[in-house]
């Protein structure tokens, strides 16, 4: 809209400006709503995973809302501060949480076209998760105890593979959808402009392996393990307690919900709403819940059917993911050559 229009016709401007403002407002509302739901549901998802897993193992398991109780219990307790901690001890939990939460804002859950649409580049998303991981690893090295350092070193090893595999997957998405943003990729898939292909199958398998590792699930890591020697993610948090541990636990739950949402949004965006269309939101929301809770039930089935790998076998598992990511791109090139 040029300046001339503004000075000449006020009413005309109002006609155009008000829908524009309302649209922006709707996008903002979707963003806030999306984040609020994700933040609220994250512990519940972890509860579903935990209970399903317990049931599959033949135990009754805790109630679904047990994670909320755990968080509340941790918040109530007075944190004990290790005497070898530095001044940065308090900073890492907040940094890990804030980076994960910012990454959560970039992933649309129930409606596309959020306020963060333009900056929701997948590389930014990967970077923010890396920032959260860096904060967690520094927390492990913070007090200078053996398990923390070992856990951080192992996490560093896994991160090499996950980051490289993720970048290859982003390349596949960019080649297929011609967009680097999560929003744009999901829109291309939702509107059916992309058919099913072998590449996408490989990409799905690879992203699942990456997601399992990034969220610290079996086979890369065991969130329920109690042997410090085998721990990766938990080992870095052993010197944290009380509210700080609560923040770290909550960040882990958020990360799990975030990965469920990301995989669902990219590979199954059908029925997702649009921010501009208010009436498409409820269906999108129902489908979103269906997706993430289905994932939360499916995850334990996978977990009880495999064993946790030895730390130095995980690179093989992730190497397969890396290879699948590479193949998904190569297949696309071959298909483009045959087709063109």
């Amino acid at each position: 809209m040029s300046l001339g229009t503004i000075s000449i016709s006020g009413p005309f401007l109002m006609d155009q400006a008000i829908p524009g403002v309302i649209l922006e407002l709707q996008r903002l509302i979707v963003s806030v709503l999306n984040a609020a739901i994700l933040f609220a549901v994250a512990p519940l998802l972890m509860g579903v995973v935990g209970r399903t897993r317990a049931r599959l193992l033949g135990r009754p398991g805790p109630v679904f809302w047990q994670p909320y109780r755990d968080l509340q219990k941790l918040l109530r307790k007075t944190p004990v501060l290790p005497d070898t901690a530095t001044d940065y001890y308090h900073i890492w939990p907040y940094a890990a949480f804030a980076a994960t939460a910012t990454a959560a804002l970039l992933v649309p859950g129930f409606a596309l076209g959020m306020a963060t649409e333009k900056i929701s580049d997948l590389i930014t998303f990967i970077g923010l998760l890396a920032l959260a991981r860096a904060a967690t690893m520094l927390a492990g090295l913070e007090t200078g105890f053996g398990f923390g350092g070992a856990g951080a070193g192992r996490d560093a090893l896994f991160s090499l593979f996950t980051e490289a595999a993720m970048l290859l997957l982003v390349l596949t998405f960019v080649l297929v959808a011609h967009q680097p943003s999560i929003d744009g990729i999901a829109a291309e898939f939702r509107d059916g402009r992309i058919g099913v292909s072998v590449s996408l199958g490989f990409a799905l398998a690879a992203i699942l392996a990456v997601a399992l590792t990034e969220t610290g699930r079996i086979p890369a890591d065991n969130p329920a393990g109690h042997l410090e020697l085998g721990m990766v993610h938990e080992a870095m948090l052993l010197e944290y307690s009380g509210k700080y541990l609560a923040i770290f636990h909550y960040t882990a739950m958020l990360r799990l919900a975030l990965w469920f949402t990301l995989v669902g949004t990219i590979f199954c965006p059908f029925g997702m709403g649009t921010a501009a269309d208010f009436f498409s939101w409820p269906l999108g929301m129902i489908l979103w819940f269906a997706k993430i809770f289905a994932a939360a039930v499916a995850l334990p089935f996978f977990e009880v059917s495999t064993a946790k790998m030895r730390v130095f076998r995980v690179p093989e598992f992730l190497g397969v993911a890396l290879l699948l990511g590479l193949l998904s791109g190569v297949f696309l090139f071959v298909a483009a050559r045959l087709g063109g």
């Binding site: 290790p82 910012t102 970077g127 105890f145 951080a152 090499l160 680097p180 509210k243 990511g325």
Partner: protein
């Protein structure tokens, strides 16, 4: 050139031509802050330091080939003497490399534009910049001199070498560009990225880690330049602009955070007497300001988002995406492999940055000297703070910076219209700060009040006895231990069982063997008896006459 100045010295009858255009302005702007910071921090009284600076500036503002070579060699010679002050052994190696690069550059700049000339420039300037396979000297020579000189060598000197490549590849020889120029740059860059980042994870000396990370960053810049050169040759100006944006923004960012880290490493050495990560630890207690500045620099080196290193990485990755989307199938698969390499090394850069902070500055002290470290002097802190302050706009407002650099891109790729940056760190930083503040507030309201300090659990070791105030140093991970998983999974594959750099094994070691063979031959000639020498002369004479006779008779 826009503004030219002719000095009455130099080649007889021609003088020296100096001039600035947007490209040299950019590189002057990269050099200025680090020179200022090093001058504030240390070394401003040394004449050689200023000769070194003069050489770098002269190479950048040169408007003719003679001035460029003169400045470049002045820079090499001064830095050689400065390296020699630190350590004799790497200085010899460094002199060899400097002579090699001079021997390649001098003929190249006076040859007619074309493949041979660019190949020689690539060899000469690439060796000076630390591009694989001629990079093995860099992790040895850069850490040798005092920290301020290391800072300028890593932050400034390699940039001058890259400037020569840019100047000749994009401006002087622009009409003769061939695709293989870009491909050679990409290969050299990719190899440097992989080896540099891996060695940065495995090395334990702080300054060597930083030098290896310089190899990685030079590789990234070269990769960006290569993609830019290739895309420009194919007429894809938008892609060329993205790649150049990434490369040059990384040059700017690296020129800020790497000198900062080197100055900090020097201060650590001054305070503790060692630079080995295995002997440091917990430095942030004694040196809180230095520690904070180092965390900032490491965030840049690790290419973390909201740090100065992320925006260039973002642009470079998008350039690789763009390059993989066009062209023949082999090229596409090659770019995909390059992407995997960049992904691996981005993660390794993160780990090496973390390792400096986590092992060196956090945790418990591993030696008494690390426990007794005192804060660095104010000049060093002031120099580092200057660089840190300049990092902030690079980190948070890269879009503005790129807009300011637009004349450079217009000069290098005429008619390029760069796309707007899809990474907006400023809003992201606000969101991040908002979430952190929100979490802090929530925990303050709903969480338990107060904290209790207790002896650290230490995996069951519990409270140490009073004569070991920081517990047993053996019970925490060392720098070597921290990177051991990566060494096991990657190091043996890429660097071999002894973790030797391929640049040393396949370039320096054969050269050393050749040197030995030639020395032995020369020694045998020197030790020959008079009879042997007479026999040799007689034999040569017979051969000569025989050849002459055969030639005439036939």
């Amino acid at each position: 050139m826009n503004h030219e100045l002719t000095l009455p010295i130099g080649l007889p009858g021609q003088g020296m031509h100096l001039g600035v255009d947007p490209l040299s302005c950019l590189f002057l702007a990269i050099l200025a802050p680090q020179i200022l910071a090093v001058a504030v921090g240390e070394d401003r009284e040394s004449v050689l330091f200023w000769v070194f600076v003069l050489g770098m500036v002269l190479a950048v503002v040169a408007a003719d080939a003679f001035s460029l070579v003169f400045g470049f060699e002045l820079m090499s010679a001064a830095s050689w003497v400065l390296v020699l002050r630190g350590d004799r052994k790497p200085a010899t190696l460094y002199a060899g490399i400097a002579m090699f690069s001079g021997a390649c550059l001098v003929p190249a700049l006076f040859l007619p534009a074309g493949g041979v000339a660019f190949g020689l420039i690539l060899l000469g300037a690439g060796a000076k910049a630390g591009l694989a396979p001629l990079h093995a000297w860099l992790p040895r020579a850069h850490p040798a001199p005092p920290a301020g000189i290391s800072a300028l060598m890593s932050g400034g000197m390699v940039k001058v070498a890259l400037y020569v490549i840019i100047r000749y590849g994009f401006v002087v020889m622009a009409p003769d560009v061939k695709p293989w120029w870009g491909i050679a740059l990409i290969f050299a860059g990719g190899a440097s990225v992989l080896i540099g980042s891996l060695r940065a994870v495995l090395e334990t000396e702080l300054k060597v880690v930083l030098a290896c990370s310089t190899v990685e960053h030079v590789g990234l810049i070269a990769t960006g330049l290569g993609i830019g050169l290739l895309a420009k040759g194919f007429g894809d100006n938008a892609l060329a602009a993205t790649a150049l944006q990434g490369a040059l923004l990384l040059a700017v960012a690296h020129g800020l955070f790497k000198p900062l880290l080197f100055l900090g490493a020097g201060a650590v050495k001054h305070a503790t007497g060692t630079n080995s990560l295995d002997w440091l630890g917990g430095l942030i207690r004694g040196m809180p300001h230095l520690g904070g500045l180092m965390i900032l620099g490491c965030a840049g080196m690790a290419a973390l988002p909201l740090g100065p290193g992320f925006a260039p990485e973002f642009l470079l990755l998008h350039a690789v995406f763009g390059a993989a989307g066009t062209g023949g199938i082999l090229g596409r698969i090659g770019f995909e492999a390059l992407l995997a390499v960049l992904g691996l090394s981005a993660a390794m850069a993160l780990v090496s940055g973390l390792r400096i902070v986590g092992i060196g500055f956090l945790g418990r002290p591993r030696t008494l000297r690390a426990a007794a470290a005192e804060e660095a002097g104010w000049p060093v802190l002031a120099g580092m703070a200057l660089l840190a302050v300049l990092c902030v706009p690079v980190a948070l407002l890269p879009g503005l910076l790129l807009a300011a650099m637009q004349p450079v891109f217009a000069e290098l790729v005429p008619g390029a219209a760069p796309q707007p940056l899809a990474y907006a760190p400023f809003p992201l930083a606000l969101l991040l700060a908002g979430f952190a503040a929100g979490a802090w507030w929530f925990v303050k309201i709903f969480g338990a009040r107060g904290e209790r300090e207790v002896p650290a659990w230490q995996g069951g070791f519990g409270k140490p006895p009073p004569w070991l105030p920081f517990g047993n140093p053996m019970t925490q991970a060392t720098g070597t231990g921290f990177s051991e998983p990566i060494a096991r999974a990657f190091g043996y594959t890429i660097l071999g069982a002894k973790h030797l750099d391929p640049g040393e094994v396949y370039v320096l070691a054969p050269l050393a063997r050749l040197h030995q063979v030639l020395t032995r031959a020369a020694e045998r000639v020197r030790r020959a008896t008079i009879r042997q020498r007479l026999a040799f002369v007689f034999g040569a004479l017979v051969m000569f006459l025989l050849a002459l006779g055969l030639a005439q008779g036939g």
